[in-house]
Symmetry: C2
Subunit: 147 residues, 2 copies
Amino acid sequence: MELRTPTKTVLYSIEEAIKSYRRFSQKNISRLIPGITVDQVLILIIISDEKELTQMEIADRVFKDYASITRIINLMVINGYLVKEDHKQDRRRSMLQVTSKGKSVIKTLGPVIEHNRRTALAGLGEEEIMQLYTTLKKITANCSPKD
Amino acid sequence: MELRTPTKTVLYSIEEAIKSYRRFSQKNISRLIPGITVDQVLILIIISDEKELTQMEIADRVFKDYASITRIINLMVINGYLVKEDHKQDRRRSMLQVTSKGKSVIKTLGPVIEHNRRTALAGLGEEEIMQLYTTLKKITANCSPKD
DNA sequence: GACTTTTATTTGATATATCAAAAAAGGCAG
DNA sequence: CTGCCTTTTTTGATATATCAAATAAAAGTC
């Protein structure tokens, strides 16, 4: 019987960890504001912090496909968190504006997100977090096309 | 309260790493056998290793929802990798059998999966992998309902 | 044996992931 | 200006994620 060592399963544990974290976060978010997703809240915060981002830049920030961003943002417009206005310099793009409803979501959920992160990382030392970060970046690099 | 840019937190790098790995793996798999997904291959291998698993047990092994497993397995039956037969003792369940087409997929892709894992972890020391594993397990525990 | 509760799976509705292809505007060479 | 190439976004098709609710069979209770 062969022992399943971390070497064989560590990639599973990455999947496990991120899924646990996402489910945990979504639950806490839904408790306060049902009907919005973790992804939507994060994108809302990103747009609110940097007003001039293109959708492609937003996609890169959250490691999502451009097609996904199109659909997520459309939903956020439909749900009243964002409005799309014409972009003067480049008519392929559009200016994304956070609505007052969107701002209120950020205000309400910002602390929840902070709390989720702190809870997820509870008991981890500063050193340990740095090490985690470093190791994960190596894996990302190993798996990235090096064009 | 100050919301640090989410992209800078370590939890993002977990997401980034696992997505890079999944895309990388899928690309290598599709090169050899187009039309099958990473998830399907892993589930195929799991069923092939342990013949008597219920769908719920399979779901737990790959950290997926039961509903997802139902749909993935249905697709795998449609695509001829699996067959469902009646389970004698419990008629709610069904016996999942890997078809010869499924076995051939495992034979072809097994080495690819091994290669993907080795590539993803290239340059990481044994110690470092253990540490990664330990830290991720802490995060998972922190985010898991402790009923 | 009928009733209730659990367990295993499925379905419905909606969100996100991915790839390929299309659409639409911008930029550039000639 | 015209044709060509690039960039940004969208669409189509399909797979997976998630929660809630529905089925259906097994197990426990009386």
